[in-house]
């Protein structure tokens, strides 16, 4: 059965810290891996990763995919309280299906 696992499930840091969120997957017909940020509304798209080893960056956020290890990491540097959210990892397959992980709840304290 297809599965996406995220770790840690919960994380508390202070402003200015750097965090690394992990995602690993077992999905047949893998097409791409996506990271979303979920606050009080629907998930907001962050990154889509399809190729191994190519880092995607957006401001203080970056992400990279390792297809050999079936995993991805999401880095956030110089965290701010506004980064507090649930970060979802999802794998998208060629059947147009999403498999979402349980999410990592990040709390950034002032």
């Amino acid at each position: 059965e297809d599965k996406v696992v995220q770790s840690p499930l919960s994380l508390v840091v202070h402003e200015g810290d750097t965090v690394t969120l992990n995602c690993s997957y077992e999905v047949t017909n893998f097409r791409s891996l996506l990271w979303y940020k979920q606050e009080k509304k629907a998930p907001t798209f962050l990154f889509m990763l399809t190729s191994s080893g190519i880092e995607k960056k957006s401001g203080r956020l970056s992400s990279i995919l390792d297809k050999k290890e079936l995993s991805s990491i999401l880095n956030i540097t110089a965290t701010q309280t506004g980064d507090s959210a649930i970060y979802l990892c999802a794998v998208f397959d060629y059947g147009q299906n999403f498999v979402f992980g349980p999410g990592t709840r990040l709390s950034v304290l002032p």
């Binding site: 996406v4 996506l34 509304k41 629907a42 998930p43 907001t44 798209f45 889509m48 399809t50 999802a90 147009q96 299906n97 999403f98 498999v99 979402f100 992980g101 349980p102």
Partner: protein
């Protein structure tokens, strides 16, 4: 700013009622999707559509149907609502024309309770 709008944030319906969930996008996207989100189960695909009047079943189509008469609107229909259809329903859209970095734009969700 791109938008996917779901007509209702909260709905309470009775068992056996016919329920319509509406989703409208203003981005001229070809592809639209309906998912339901349940605790511990993540997002599960119900139906999707690649174009007007086209639809394909997702993982859990039973008890649902869809309608796409216009490109911007994708409706999810519960023919006879049941309590196990109590869930958060999310609509999404995308277009392959955006290139390899396209992401899915989600609506804000409709929380449906069937009593």
């Amino acid at each position: 700013d791109v938008k996917v709008t779901q007509s209702s944030r909260y709905l309470v319906k009775r068992t056996g009622e016919k329920v319509f969930l509406e989703c409208v996008q203003d981005m001229d996207h070809e592809n639209m999707f309906w998912y339901r989100q349940d605790p511990g189960l993540g997002l599960r695909l119900i139906y999707f559509s690649y174009d007007v009047k086209m639809k394909e079943k997702g993982d859990i189509p039973e008890g649902y149907s869809v309608s796409r008469e216009k490109k911007e609107r994708f409706s999810l229909i519960l023919e006879s609502a049941s309590t196990n259809q109590t869930s958060m329903y999310l609509c999404a859209s995308t277009t392959p024309a955006a290139g390899p970095d396209y992401g899915y734009t989600f609506g804000s969700g409709t929380r449906l309770t069937v009593v």
